[in-house]
Amino acid sequence: MSQPTPPKMSARNVNVYYGEKQAIQNVSIDVDTDNVTAFIGPSGCGKSTFLRTLNRMNDTVASARVEGEITLDGENIYSSGMDVVQLRARVGMVFQKPNPFPKSIYDNIAYGPRIHGLASAKADLDVIVESSLRRAGLWDEVKDRLKDSGTALSGGQQQRLCIGRAIAVEPEVILMDEPCSALDPIATAKIEELIHELRGRYAIVIVTHNMQQAARVSQRTAFFHLGTLVEYGSTSEIFTNPREDRTKDYITGRYG
């Protein structure tokens, strides 16, 4: 690796509680733009919970409480001066279940740029829509039916539409929570390809249950277990030479 860049996002001693129950214990992690980071771990270990603290989506859960410090470019995102709306534009999210708006394909992509005022003229918006759909690998399939509803697409197309929607606002970080769990191998391959292309431009964090996928798309991997971060390191090292027994057991499929 070349010149070490300061991390895009970093978390220090983060605890997350749902009411009385602690879901994340003392997690510290750095995420940078040069690498795709994968979160792996057994179901219920808190991957989604932690991911959602990174763009404060947990604010929508009344019982959730976050302790510790999470910074974006050195600025604490949980400080009172942080504008949550802008934060979520800078830290985009792709959800496990494709959730396009029940609007046209065009409007799905154009919605973000519109509300953030990124395009002043219709022509600018057209450019944003086309480039976002191209980068999401969906343009050729939908270019003739941009007026059709986004919900009329197939599951895989919907998920790529959601990725296109996320990158249309030019975020700095993209969080993906099991983006391929509902997709077939072809659609999955397309999205993985897309992640490769986006790497370096955005800091990408992807939650996945698929070990091969983690190995294919990520350069760094974090293994979570029971709300703690067990091991975090380069993907090749985690998969070939894990330091912890728990990591090894999980990766080799002895539990999960």
């Binding site: 763009n55 989506m57 929508t60 009344a62 709306v85 802008q86 934060l87 979520r88 534009a89 800078r90 985009g92 999210m93 959800f95 279940k97 959730n99 396009p100 708006f101 029940p102 919605y111 973000g112 509300i115 953030h116 509803s149 919900t151 959601c162 929607r165 996320a166 249309a168 606002v169």
Partner: protein, 424 residues
Amino acid sequence: MNAPVSPDALRRQPTDWKGDAMRKRIASRYASERRFRRIGLAAILMSAGFLAYLMISMLSGGLGGFTRTEIAVRVDFPKAPIVIDPASLRGEGAEAVLSSVNWQALTDQAATSALGKDGAWIAPGAWLVVRDAVKADPAILQKSVTLHLPASAELDVAAKSEGQPAAEAAYARLEKAGLTSRAINWDFLTSSDGTDPTQVGIWGAFKGSLLTMAVTLLLSFPVGVLAALYLEEYAPRNRWTDMIEVSINNLAAVPSIIFGLLGLAVFLNVLHLPRSAALVGGLTLALMTMPVIVIAGRNAIKAVPPSIRDAALGIGASPIQVVFHHVLPLALPGIMTGTIIGMARALGETAPLLMIGMRAFIASPPGGITDPATVLPVQIFLWSDEVSKGFVEKTSAAIIVLLLFLLSMNSIAIYLRNKFERRW
């Protein structure tokens, strides 16, 4: 994990899918399905039967209210006791000239000379027809013309159904002479309440209903929707919001007459708003409609999938943008359904409006929301109370108008709802 189960308990007999017991079970399953379908069909037939009965009895009794019996009367203007220069009726000052004439006397005299003592059977308001005929064509003042004058209420009843013996006899005579006819009573659609059934009309009450509903809708829809949005999207879940929720649910069940008393106490006695006006009626009915819209609205908002909210928040929409760009459009069809139900109820409401004085006798249509007015259901109630037999038909006819109003209001709402309906 669980306690170990003995292997014997795990070994089950294979299911006998072809046995007698199984066949019987299947047969009884189908039987119960058939039974259920028949009961459902019977329920539908029964409600359809009631509806058909209502429609038929309403139409057969009420359609007559839209027509009137007319008697052909020859009016010989040159011989009549009036002197008007036809030229003076063209241009300025025509109204003044027209109103200077005693049309009533002229008409009575013409009827008597044409029909003898049967001339008494023309309606008290028949002179209006004569005046309008002259107004439309002043040239007839130099001629003798045949005008179709409306018959009195008694003769009208005798013509359409069973009347008093004297009226029946007179009608038989006039009919034999070929002087009677039936025509659409346009006055019924254009005039207001009156004392003579041949002269009453529905327009005043119709316009009153229209104004009242406008006030109700303009107030209850935005307030109801905003309240629902606030309660669902912003209000914290605590004892206070629970209490508000219970109160709103109870408010929706409060008998309407109580709202009338509330309107009387607050809008009239405290705020001193004009009595009998569409404004106060609309305010009172809005109080009644609001809880219905709030409840329907909250359910519709709750039904919007959370994933849509997440999606919008996830690309940096502010909470208010989430609500107005995504939640509200998706909830709108459901909100409109609630609004239709609430407004339909408000349109048919009588009791609370009686409390705030909308039962007054009002012979001219309201010019605005602060003018004294009445509404269709109250008009129906008032006419159904009249002794004169001519009002029976008018009552049914007014009911038809009310039902048509309701039907068109709902059709518009359903059209709008379907327009906004989106799938996800």
